[in-house]
Each structure stands twice: as structure tokens, then as C-alpha cells.
């Protein structure tokens, strides 16, 4: 059997089996899902990209197989999927409806692999929808406020998916084939109006999943209220499917004459990243904060792709990979806090650093990567992005990105401070470090973040081959991945990552030694209640925690932007629609005679119209 089919059968069959297993032998469930996922990962890595599978369904020719581009995203999916499943064995312990959870979890991972292996639009859409509803079922897993939150996700996904479907059928009507290669080959032969319409419709579809403004309103709550072990995949891998789709559209379906599309997409993404960052800054729930942050980060990725330059695309893809890594670490860390403490509301928790040190380390590393500070991987991506934008003349775009990523420092600090730093309140004294099966995935992912900062080659190598499939030929000196440490922009300016790392680490170690060697042993720890307070003595019950209205001044400064959320417009629109629908409903007024009159009136109309217009 073809390993592609085997892959899907394993995933989907395994998902169903997990559901059944949970009914009868719940003890084996966790082991089963983890082993299944590891097996699938193995299968995935052994599949390779040359494998092609052709078949016909309903007279539609379909093709499956990985390309180097989809393989790159596939790596994200399987790695994150495996780690998140390992994580969730501990995270989900003791919750109910686990069969339901794992089934949909595996379904969505399977569907993502399906999307990636689709070489035709129909199977792409097919798996896309499976991914949508399976993720939707996990989004509503927690069960509170399902009607608003879940529906919002579903409505927007449906709008996206259906505009995609519309584009797909229109493409087919012109080209007569759903195969991606055929579509790519002949898309520019069709009228440019349709061409643009198709691109826009497809991008609406992918834009919803990647939570681009103004289609993002589902995302914050969907991300924040799913179980964190899934959100790690959701934000890390699932939203990348939208990115993958954007890549397909931007590089293959938008002709270079239509530079305006690229421009518009990039600006939308930029606005997304700025606004989402601002929203993130004013959140006080760690999960929501990260959710908005995800939206913002995907904005960067899409800006990179839309810049349509070699460096920009590379930056976009690199950030996509890296975002998957650090954002899922962060979600996992927040999940760990949630599990150990019971809440992620940062106005309620503080000072966990000494209780959960390893979680803090993972968070810190990921935050540094997220903020794009050297010497971690985030910086590499950001640097490439900026250079790409500057050298390709997107001056104002780069300002937007800068604004967004500078403001990102605010929430980066917020999340570190909110959960781990600050006053160590006695109520958290009993909190313990998260179990090992939760820590290990986080630390592994943190390790990737660290390594990618100085030796990004192991990510850039697959990205380069992916880009080759998009038509971007590599201009980096081709060496082994560990030698790929110096990045150039098109003007020849460079950054030498190893030098950066050496200098930072060197100075850091010297300074640390300087401050530590003499006297650190004699230092003693004092509680955070013992602080300078203008002479007053702080009692244990005094609230010295500063968490509420953390960034109030900033909030005041950006007030005009927050006055009315995009969400509200949708709500108003929905309400208007419902009123209209209620009006339509009055047509069926309950009186049977009226129905008969409708019939006669319709007949009369038809007779008039029929003789007048239908040419009888």
C-alpha cells in the first residue's frame, strides 16, 4: 500500500480507534495515541517527497504527494503533533470526554497532513474542512459560551472555506482540472478579472485560518479556550495551513503584474500584526494574550511571503517554523501554569518563578525568541524580514512591523512578569512544577529556539528547498547546515550569527562570573515582601502585586484604536440580519388560505411572465 494512504488510514483510523479505546480500555488510550503519532511521524519522515499517488473520484482526477514546500510544513505538523500529544497525556489527565478530545485531535492532525499532501484543490478542500470541524470540536470542548465562541469560529471558517470552494470551482470551470500543477500552469491564461477574483477568494479562505484582519475575530477566544495542549498545535501548526495556502496563492496564482495584490496582502497583514499586538498588550489573561500574539506573528509571516523577495519569503517561512516552535512552547507553558495553578488570569497569579522554574526557563527562552532578540532564532527571522522589506523598498511596511514588534516587548514582559515574576503570594506556595511529560516537550522546543539562533541552517535548508519549489532559487552559499551562520541581504550587508552569539555569551558569562564569584554564596534569599517601601513595614496580607491595568498609560495612548472593536461591527451586522430573517419569516403566517392565495398569485404571475418573457 502506498505510504500516503497508509498515513491517512493510520491517522483517521487511529483517531476512531482512540475514541473506541477510550470507551473500553481508557488506560491504554494515552499510550496508544502517543505511539500512533510517533509511528505516523516515522512514516512521514520515511515517505519523502517523490511519492505520488493518482486516482479518480467521481471523475475528478486527484493527486496526492508531498512537495518540498508542503514537506516543510509537514515537519512542523508531525513534530508539534507528537510533542503536543505527549504533553497532553499529562495535561488532559483526569478530564472527561477524552475520547472525543483525542479523536478530534488526531483527526485534525491527519487532516493537516492531508492538506499538505494534496496536489489537487478538491482534496485540499476536503481535508481543509475536516481540519475545520475537528478543530472546531476541540474549540468547543470546554463547553462554556459555546454558542458565541464556537459559532464565531465555525462561521468564519465556513466563510473562508466556502470562498475557497468558490474559487476552486471557478478555477475548474476555466481550466477543467483541479490538479495544482495544471492550475498553476494555466492560471494566467484566463481573464485577469477572474484571475484576481480567484486569488482574492482563495486568500480569504486562507486568511481566515491564519486569522488575518478583519477575519481574525474568531481567533482570540478559539485559541484561548481550547485545551492548551491543542492550542499549541492550533496556533503552531493549524494556522500555518493558512500560511501554506498563502504561499501557494501568492507564488503561483498571482502574476507579477498584479503586484497590488501582494501589496494589499502585506498591508493587511501589517495592520493585523499591529492591531493584534495592541490588543495583546491590553489583555490580562495569558491565554488571550498569546492568542492575539499568535495573530500578530502570523501577520509577520504573511508580510514576509507577500514581499515576494527571496529574503522576505525565507524570513516568512523561517518565522512560520519558529513561530510554531516558540508559540507552542508558550501555550504549553501557560497550560502547565493553568494545570498547576488553576487559572491563567494574570491578575490573579504572580511569582511562580521559584515554584515552576523549568516552565519559566522554557517561557523565557520562547519569549526572547518571540520578541526577536538576539541571539535566539526569532532574531534571525526578524532580521531577514526587516532587511527584505528595506531592500525591496517597503519602507512604510517595515515601520509597521517595527511598531508591532516593539509593542510586542510590552506583552512579552507582561507574560513573564504576570505569571512568574512579581510578588510571591503565599497562596501559591503549594504549587509544584509541571510533570515531566509536560516539561520535556517544552524544553525540546526551547532547545530548537536556542539552536536556531546561531545555526539556523537546519531550518533554512528545508526552507530553501521549499522555496525552490516556489520558484525562488537559493542565493545563500550552499554549505552544510551548520556552516550557514552568516546572513546577507541583497545590498551585501550581513549579520554573523556565531559572532553575535559568542560575544553575547562571552560577555554574559564574564559579567555573571564577575557578579557571582565573590559573595553570591553569602547572599540569602529574602521574600518579596521584604522590599523598600519608604520605611513602612509591609504586612504579609498587604497587596503589593501590580497586575491590574498593567499597561494603562499605553492603553490610553492607543485609545482611538481600541474604541470600537472589529467584533462589534460583525455583531451589529448579525443582529441586522436576524431582524431581516424574522421579517421574512412572517411570510408563513399560519393561515392556510393565504398559502392557497400565494399559490394562485404565483400562478398568475407565472402566466403573465411566461407569456411575456419566456417566449411561449
Amino acid at each position: 500500500m502506498n505510504s500516503l494512504i497508509l498515513l491517512l488510514i493510520l491517522m483517521f483510523g487511529g483517531a476512531l480507534f482512540a475514541f473506541i479505546l477510550n470507551k473500553f480500555v481508557p488506560a491504554l488510550r494515552d499510550i496508544f495515541v502517543v505511539l500512533l503519532m510517533l509511528g505516523v511521524s516515522y512514516l512521514f519522515f520515511s515517505t519523502g517527497i517523490s511519492n505520488r499517488l493518482n486516482f479518480d473520484v467521481l471523475g475528478i482526477h486527484m493527486q496526492w504527494g508531498f512537495t518540498s514546500a508542503s514537506y516543510l510544513f509537514g515537519i512542523i505538523v508531525v513534530v508539534l503533533g507528537s510533542l503536543a500529544l505527549i504533553y497532553s497525556t499529562a495535561y488532559m489527565k483526569g478530564k472527561d470526554r477524552l475520547g472525543y478530545f483525542y479523536m478530534n485531535f488526531l483527526f485534525s492532525i491527519g487532516a493537516m497532513l492531508g492538506i499538505l499532501m494534496s496536489r489537487d484543490l478538491i482534496s485540499l478542500f476536503f481535508f481543509w474542512e475536516i481540519m475545520t470541524w475537528s478543530s472546531y470540536f476541540i474549540v468547543i470542548y470546554s463547553g462554556n459560551d459555546v454558542d458565541r465562541r464556537g459559532l464565531k469560529y465555525m462561521i468564519f471558517s465556513a466563510i473562508g472555506a466556502y470562498s475557497m470552494l468558490m474559487a476552486i470551482v471557478i478555477v475548474n470551470s476555466f481550466i477543467g482540472s483541479f490538479l495544482l500543477e495544471d492550475v498553476f500552469a494555466s492560471i494566467f491564461a484566463i481573464g485577469s478579472g477572474y484571475q484576481i477574483a480567484i486569488a482574492i477568494l482563495l486568500m480569504i479562505g486562507f486568511g481566515v485560518k491564519s486569522a488575518m484582519m478583519p477575519l481574525h475575530v474568531w481567533a482570540p477566544r478559539a485559541y484561548s479556550e481550547s485545551p492548551m495542549s491543542y492550542t499549541a498545535v492550533f496556533s503552531g501548526a493549524l494556522s500555518k495551513m493558512g500560511v501554506f495556502g498563502f504561499a501557494l496563492v501568492l507564488f503561483n496564482l498571482v502574476s507579477t503584474q498584479n503586484w497590488l495584490i501582494n501589496e494589499v496582502v502585506a498591508w493587511l497583514a501589517a495592520i493585523t500584526s499591529v492591531l493584534a499586538t495592541f490588543y495583546a498588550v491590553i489583555q490580562s489573561d495569558a491565554k488571550k494574550l498569546l492568542a492575539y500574539s499568535s495573530i500578530a506573528q502570523i501577520g509577520y509571516i504573511i508580510i514576509g511571503l507577500a514581499s515576494n523577495t527571496y529574503l522576505g519569503v525565507m524570513a516568512g517561512l523561517f518565522l512560520a517554523v519558529l513561530h510554531a516552535v516558540f508559540k507552542s512552547t508558550l501555550f504549553m507553558a501557560v497550560g502547565a501554569v493553568e494545570r498547576q495553578v488553576g487559572t491563567t488570569d494574570m491578575t490573579k497569579i504572580s511569582g511562580l518563578i521559584r515554584r515552576m522554574p523549568w516552565t519559566f526557563v522554557a517561557t523565557l527562552i520562547s519569549i526572547i525568541a518571540l520578541a526577536g532578540l538576539p541571539p535566539l532564532g526569532g532574531f534571525v527571522g526578524k532580521w531577514m524580514l526587516y532587511e527584505a522589506l528595506i531592500t525591496s523598498g517597503h519602507y512604510y511596511l517595515v515601520i509597521m512591523v517595527f511598531l508591532s514588534s516593539t509593542a510586542a516587548f510590552l506583552y512579552s514582559y507582561r507574560i513573564l512578569f504576570g505569571m512568574f515574576l512579581g510578588q510571591e503570594e503565599p497562596e501559591f506556595a503549594h504549587v509544584k512544577e509541571a510533570p515531566l511529560s509536560m516539561l520535556i516537550p517544552m524544553l525540546i522546543l526551547s532547545g530548537i529556539s536556542v539552536l536556531s539562533g546561531s545555526h539556523p541552517g537546519f531550518i533554512l535548508e528545508p526552507i530553501q528547498s521549499a522555496m525552490a519549489s516556489f520558484g525562488f532559487q537559493s542565493n545563500l552559499p550552499h554549505e552544510s547546515w551548520w556552516e550557514l551562520t552568516v546572513l546577507f541581504n541583497t545590498w551585501g550587508d550581513k549579520v554573523a550569527l556565531v559572532n553575535v552569539l559568542t560575544s553575547i555569551v562571552g560577555v554574559f558569562l564574564i559579567a555573571l562570573a564577575f557578579i557571582t564569584i565573590k559573595g553570591y554564596k553569602n547572599q540569602r534569599y529574602v521574600t518579596t515582601k521584604d522590599i523598600s517601601s519608604s520605611g513602612e513595614i509591609i504586612q504579609p496580607e498587604d497587596n503589593m502585586t501590580f497586575q491590574i491595568d498593567f499597561y494603562k498609560p499605553f492603553e490610553r495612548a492607543i485609545w482611538p484604536l481600541l474604541k470600537r472593536k472589529i467584533d462589534d461591527y460583525y455583531t451589529d451586522f448579525g443582529k441586522g440580519l436576524e431582524a431581516l430573517f424574522d421579517f421574512v419569516r412572517r411570510f408563513y403566517n399560519g393561515n392556510g388560505q393565504f398559502y392557497a392565495i400565494y399559490v394562485m398569485a404565483f400562478l398568475a404571475l407565472l402566466l403573465i411572465a411566461g407569456t411575456k418573457y419566456f417566449g411561449f
Binding site: I597, M600, A601, L603, A604, L607, I608, T611
Partner: protein
């Protein structure tokens, strides 16, 4: 008022078109159609003098089977719609008070005659105007007469359903027999006899007799059901 005017308007439009269309149909002309074939074949091949009967029972016998079914369903449906749990000690009462003596005796006299007439009509359906439906309806009027004359005239629903079922089964089985004999459904498999003879037309006569019984039984049952439930005190039921 608005509504009424609107209805007038609609009916005027529809009426205009119906008139317009119908007036284009030439009246009284002999058009070439399937009817000619029936007029041609019915006396010669089927030996049935009443062509309408030949059409109803043979050429378009399938319609008639459907028609019988419709009646059967109407009876069944009606019974199901009117079905009501009987209260304890409740008796079947149809009219508030008994009819006058004159009516009672008159009905008694007329009853057998009407039944006889009905039977004649459906037995001679293939020879003269009339047939199973007509005969059946005539017989049903006889029972209607009795039902309105006598307070306690009882229609035995069990008998009626026996008659109904057997007559219906006879009809279908006659059709299926044709099928079994290698012909088509409802095809005549009996000798056709002589034109204008009582024993002519093959299965047509038998079918019409069955139809007659069936219609009579169904209509009787139908009327009875409607009357049975039409009691003033039943109105209070909610």
C-alpha cells in the same frame, strides 16, 4: 377588502388565461387521438360494448386500481383521522332522535330495490352505462338511507373490511394472474365471449363486480364513520 380585491385580481388573470386557452380548443371536432383506437378495438378485440368501461377497466385498468386504492386509503385515513377512544359505556348514536315512521318504512321498502339497482349497474357495467363505481355508490346510498332513518342501524365494520379486502385482493390478484400466466399485469386471460353478451369482456366483468363491492363497502363505512362521530357532545371534547 384589500385581500378580496387581490383575490379578484388574481382570479381574473388566471381566468383570462384559462378562457383564452380553452377557447382555442375547437369544440365538437373529432380529433385524432387514442380514443379512436379504443373505439376501434374495444368491440372487436375485447368484445366490450361500453368503450368507457373497456378503458376504465382494461386499457387504463391500472388507473382504476389506483382509484380503488385512493378510495381505500380515504376510508382508512378517514377512520384514522376520526378515530376516538370510546369512553366507558358509550353507545353508538348517530342521530338525536329517530326519523319519522314514514321515512323508516319508505326506506325499508326502497333499501332492497336500491341494492338491486346497484348490483344491476355494476354487473352490466361493460354493456350499458354504469359500472362498478356507479353501482357501488348506489348501494352506498341505500345504507345511507338506512343510517339516517334508524338510530340504531348498525354497520358491521368487520364485514365491511372483509368485503373491502377481499374485493381489493381479487382485483390485484386478477392482475397478477395475468402476470403469472406470462402475460402482462391486468391483461385479459379469459375468453372474451360475444359482444353485448353478459358474459363477455373476459376479466372486465369480474373486476367491475369486485370494484362494485369494494366501493359500496368503502362508502358505507365512510359515511358511517362520519356520522358516528358527528355527535353534539363530541364537540366538547378538547
Amino acid at each position: 377588502m384589500m385581500k378580496r380585491f387581490f383575490i379578484f385580481l388574481i382570479l381574473a388573470i388566471v381566468g383570462y388565461y384559462i378562457v383564452d386557452v380553452v377557447s382555442q380548443i375547437p369544440f365538437g371536432e373529432n380529433r385524432v387521438n387514442v380514443g379512436d383506437y379504443y373505439l376501434d378495438k374495444s368491440p372487436s378485440e375485447l368484445k366490450v360494448s361500453n368503450t368507457v368501461t373497456a378503458i376504465v377497466v382494461n386499457y387504463r385498468g391500472f388507473d382504476t386500481l389506483g382509484e380503488v386504492t385512493v378510495l381505500f386509503l380515504a376510508a382508512t385515513g378517514l377512520a384514522s383521522i376520526m378515530f376516538r377512544r370510546k369512553r366507558k359505556g358509550e353507545k353508538d348514536i348517530r342521530a338525536k332522535k329517530a326519523s319519522s315512521r314514514i321515512i323508516q318504512i319508505g326506506s325499508q321498502i326502497l333499501f332492497p330495490i336500491i341494492i338491486l339497482l346497484g348490483a344491476y349497474v355494476f354487473i352490466h357495467g361493460h354493456l350499458s352505462p354504469g359500472g362498478g363505481f356507479q353501482g357501488g355508490v348506489i348501494i352506498a346510498t341505500a345504507s345511507l338511507l338506512m343510517l339516517i332513518s334508524y338510530r340504531k342501524f348498525k354497520v358491521n365494520h368487520s364485514t365491511i373490511s372483509w368485503i373491502e379486502s377481499i374485493a381489493g385482493i381479487v382485483f390485484v390478484l386478477l392482475g397478477v394472474t395475468g402476470l403469472i400466466l406470462g402475460k402482462t399485469f391486468l391483461e385479459n386471460f379469459l375468453p372474451t365471449g360475444e359482444l353485448n353478451n353478459l358474459l363477455s369482456g373476459g376479466i372486465i366483468g369480474i373486476i367491475y363486480v369486485a370494484v362494485g363491492f369494494k366501493v359500496a363497502a368503502e362508502l358505507t363505512g365512510l359515511i358511517d364513520t362520519l356520522l358516528l362521530n358527528n355527535r353534539p357532545e363530541a364537540n366538547k371534547e378538547k
